[in-house]
Amino acid sequence: MANRTKALIAATLVCGVVAIVVVRAQQKRVWSLGHLTPVDYIEIQQLVAHYPYALDRGTDHGRVYAALFTPDGVFQGNGKYAKGREELAKSADRGDDAPQNVGHFMMNHVIEPGANGGAVGKQYLLTISAFGPEVNGRRAVSIRKWHYEDIYEKTSEGWLFKSRTLIEKPEPPSPPAPPATPSR
């Protein structure tokens, strides 16, 4: 009887282990983000989502913007270079806060694992400004197209920009302008 019980327990244990292995194998996901966890991914998405609000509003004389970067973080592009939070805050200082201002529209955020447990990413940017005469209360707009290339770092304050580089789409020779890229 003792042997029978032992055998039963042993068989059940073996099958239990098999069950766990089978289920875990079925649940195993293809995961292209390497060492980044879903929580890392969401935190980086949120870091980048906060970026235009901090920049366009200039809250607290740009300090909110600067806090999105590591203490030695760098922004460069559009003829500007700022390193460290003091310079970064200055670059985003609008004098008074502008809580309703919107100007940076961002899409297509790619996130990839980077070196040393970090992450890199890129994102499209549109900046829109009015130009030409006003007609019936409306003005035409000029749209500039850019993309960002980022390095993110996980810090004790969460994920922050280690660097953010802004690159403008090359201006087409003018005139004549080449045809637009066919949409796909």
């Binding site: 098999v18 289920v23 790619v110 030409g132 090359p170």
Partner: protein
């Protein structure tokens, strides 16, 4: 002998339990699409986020672009052309044979909806602005033309991750593609 009968019984019981647990883990309840995991949503988000980069920069004659699709994936463009498989889809991305342009940006894609389907896959849609400059520069600025489109997708989980099984890009104002269950009715590949 009795011992082995007991072992066999326990094994059969356990195998049954394994099946039940595996089925439960897959969430395959009738009438309810199995839920996508957080990882699935993220993978599909990233598939779509990557999409415009090889399309706009054309680094390798459309090959990187085509790699976003399943091997037998289909791209349906706004001219009602269908491209099936990596070779045809690479051709579609490189029809104008433009040189690589690493800083080019053109497809601004947003409002990405992802929904699970009954077969364990997923469908989704997004909106897209295709933006290009028009007219002469004025005070250093040029007016812009914006054409808005939608994408309608079927995603498939492959050994290489989530891919586009079908991506359709209907003309603005056109009727959405017909669907049969989880699949759109794909007409034979035809090009003018």
């Amino acid at each position: 002998m009795s011992k082995w009968r007991t072992v066999a019984g326990a094994t059969l019981l356990s195998v049954g339990m394994v099946g039940a647990v595996a089925t439960w883990a897959q969430g395959s309840r009738p009438n309810n699409p199995p839920a996508l995991s957080v990882e699935d949503y993220i993978e599909i988000q990233q598939l779509v986020a990557h999409y415009p980069y090889p399309l706009d920069t054309n680094p390798d004659g459309g090959k990187s672009y085509a790699a976003n699709f399943a091997e037998d994936g289909v791209f349906h463009d706004q001219h009602d052309w269908y491209y099936r498989g990596h070779a045809d889809i690479a051709t579609a991305a490189n029809l104008d044979k433009r040189p690589p342009s690493p800083n080019n940006v053109g497809h601004f894609i947003f409002s990405h909806v992802i929904e699970p389907t009954a077969n364990g896959g997923a469908v989704g849609h997004q909106q897209n602005f295709l933006i290009s400059e028009i007219g002469d520069a004025q005070d250093g600025r040029r007016a812009a033309s914006i054409v808005s489109y939608q994408y309608e997708d079927i995603y498939e989980k492959t050994p290489a991750g989530w891919k586009f099984k079908v991506r359709t890009h209907p003309r603005p104002g056109a009727d959405p593609p017909e669907r049969e269950g989880d699949l759109w009715r794909i007409r034979p590949l035809s090009r003018p």
